[in-house]
């Protein structure tokens, strides 16, 4: 009378569509919550999701229901002190801090805000929504270097290992039907005639014999049509399809001269992390190359990049030269999508800035997809900024922004990568 079915394994995430619809509907509130959260997030924290708070009043749905009409008498449980008509004295004035009714809420929206967590993917999607990798379309066609083999229909010629049996036999049947149809029609007519003769009262031996030989010849002819012919053979056809390469290398260039303090480095780090997260959405394999420089540039590991104590004067071109050397040596620009991000406080030795501009324009920018420069400083811009401005005007794959405080990083990042049509043109 009963069947047991174990449903535990199937129809997981049945609510996914509904959840997506919910996220889509409250995108504005959620995005606000996400962009506020990015500044409080730990810099190494790239794997966790984020918890989202939506004010409850934004979520209320109107419902049809009966109103509170009429006169109601209610007895509430737990009242052992008051009865109708009692006069309640005003509570005595408290000195100092009275707690008041309920707990204070720092957000001003009450304690029952709608809080929920979103996954890492959802978080990243929201974080980088309407951002895109610059120049992707424009460069993609030039950079098609990897091919994959895909099926593309059938062809009449090919090697034996690629024979498609079903298609070939379909062809064989069709050919046999086509080649024998008139003969089979004749055969049918002759057989009917023979049957008519057999049923006849007379013997008709001569006629019968003639008919029988004719039928035999026809049958022989039909049998001679080959079962399969080279004409029938069909081979699976393969074509090579170009796929854009999924390899990317990200160069992090940072000035570590005496003027860069730890706070500035932390800001730069946040920027690099955003860039890394952003690239990881598009590319499967990302190499990160860290180059730090003062008067000399050096390729270092991540920890050394952010926390090394080494310091000195500033020659920015040394880092660019090293980056160019590394590209030539290890990252062929036909196979790698090259991204560069340079962070500095703007200090540079004055004579060096024209050289930076030259290296960028002649060597690095033609090879890279995108190069961004952020200047983290509270002071006025110096020579490097001015020279880079000239580069920015002439090169669509170069962008620069100015960061003053931690709160600027995310808006600036969005500014650098926002979807724009003119940069792709």
């Amino acid at each position: 009378m009963a069947n047991f079915i174990d449903r535990r394994l199937n129809s997981k995430n049945k609510s996914t569509v509904n959840r997506q619809r919910f996220l889509r509907r409250y995108k504005n509130q959620i995005k606000k919550s996400v962009s506020e959260a990015i500044n409080q997030r730990g810099v190494t924290d790239v794997n966790s999701g984020e918890s989202i708070i939506i004010p409850k009043r934004d979520l209320s749905e109107p419902t049809f229901h009966q109103g509170d009409g009429g006169i109601k008498d209610r007895v509430h449980p737990g009242n052992d002190q008051f009865s109708t008509g009692d006069r309640i004295p005003r509570p005595p004035k408290q000195q100092g801090q009275g707690a008041g009714q309920g707990d204070a809420s720092d957000s001003g929206e009450g304690e029952d805000d709608f809080t929920f967590s979103i996954s890492k993917e959802e978080y990243l999607n929201l974080l980088f929504e309407d951002l895109e990798l610059p120049n992707l379309e424009k460069n993609q066609l030039d950079k098609l270097i990897e091919y994959k083999t895909v099926r593309s229909g059938f062809c009449a010629e090919g090697v034996a290992s690629n024979i498609d049996i079903v298609k070939s036999l379909q062809g064989s049947i069709a050919r046999r039907i086509a080649m024998t149809s008139s003969k089979r029609k004749q055969l049918k007519a002759l057989e009917e005639a023979l049957l008519a003769l057999t049923n006849d009262k007379h013997d008709n031996i001569q006629k019968k014999r003639a008919l029988t030989t004719e039928i035999e010849t026809l049958k022989g002819k039909i049998a001679k049509v080959p079962f399969i012919d080279t004409f029938d053979l069909r081979f699976r056809n393969y074509a090579k399809q170009a796929v854009p390469t999924s390899k990317a290398v990200m160069f992090c260039l940072m000035d570590v001269s005496g003027s860069m303090d730890q706070a500035t480095k932390e800001m730069a780090k946040r920027f690099y992390i955003l860039l890394y997260l952003f690239l990881s959405r598009t590319y499967k394999n990302i190499d990160v190359v860290y180059i730090r420089h003062h008067t000399q540039a050096k390729e270092v590991n991540e920890h050394e990049f952010f926390y090394s104590q080494e310091t000195g004067g500033t020659i920015a071109s040394s880092a660019l030269e090293l980056m160019n050397d590394i590209i030539t040596e290890r990252y062929n620009d036909n196979q790698w999508n090259i991204y560069g991000a340079q962070a500095s406080d703007g200090d540079n030795w004055a004579d060096d800035s024209p050289r930076c501009k030259k290296i960028l324009e002649q060597e690095i920018l033609p090879k890279s997809r995108y190069f961004s420069y952020i200047e983290i400083t509270q002071r006025a811009h110096q020579t490097l900024w001015k020279h880079y401005q000239q580069v920015e005007e002439s090169h669509p794959n170069f962008a620069m922004q100015h960061i003053k405080s931690v709160a600027d990083i995310y808006p600036v990042f969005r500014e650098l990568f926002k979807k724009s049509t003119q940069s792709a043109a």
Partner: protein, 154 residues
């Protein structure tokens, strides 16, 4: 182990061995319980449809909550919201989930939650798969769907 070939008449006369009552359920034990419950239901002449008993997880139960208990439905953002609310309340221990959902169709579909103990499953089977289905068979309009929330049942 149990007297399977009993007919309704000689229930009282038979010596019975109690069914296994470990807290953890298995499909074999469920079958056994179901068989005995069906026998008793038959004795009381409860006329039911064939039962289709499905074991689901808490998440699937919350899915069912979000879609107001309907086995299929359209997509809507409010269901997403409802699911998140239910999930949050459940995770914080502010609410329990229904022990069972019954859909009064033929065959009649009942859901058992995997978190429940064997005793609970037996109770649900007796209560929902036989009790409810008997009382609602033939009254399709009146009782399409029954959800019992834990707070109400016990």
């Amino acid at each position: 182990m149990t007297n399977k070939n009993n007919t309704a008449e000689n229930i009282k006369n038979t010596k019975t061995t109690p069914l296994d009552d470990t807290p953890d359920w298995t499909f074999e034990l469920l079958e056994q319980y179901q068989h005995e419950i069906a026998r008793v239901a038959d004795f009381y002449r409860l006329d039911t449809y064939t039962n289709q008993i499905e074991v689901i997880t808490a998440e699937q139960m919350m899915d069912a909550y979000a879609s107001v208990g309907m086995p299929i439905g359209y997509s809507h953002w409010t269901f997403g919201k409802k699911f998140i609310q239910t999930e949050q309340n459940y995770k914080r221990g502010q609410m329990g989930l229904a022990y069972e959902i019954v859909i009064n169709s033929s065959p009649c579909i009942s859901y058992l939650m995997e978190e429940n103990t064997l005793t609970m499953q037996a109770l649900v089977m007796a209560h929902a798969c036989y009790g409810h289905i008997y009382s609602s068979r033939g009254q399709m309009l009146a009782l399409l769907l029954i959800i019992y929330y834990s707070q109400k049942t016990i």
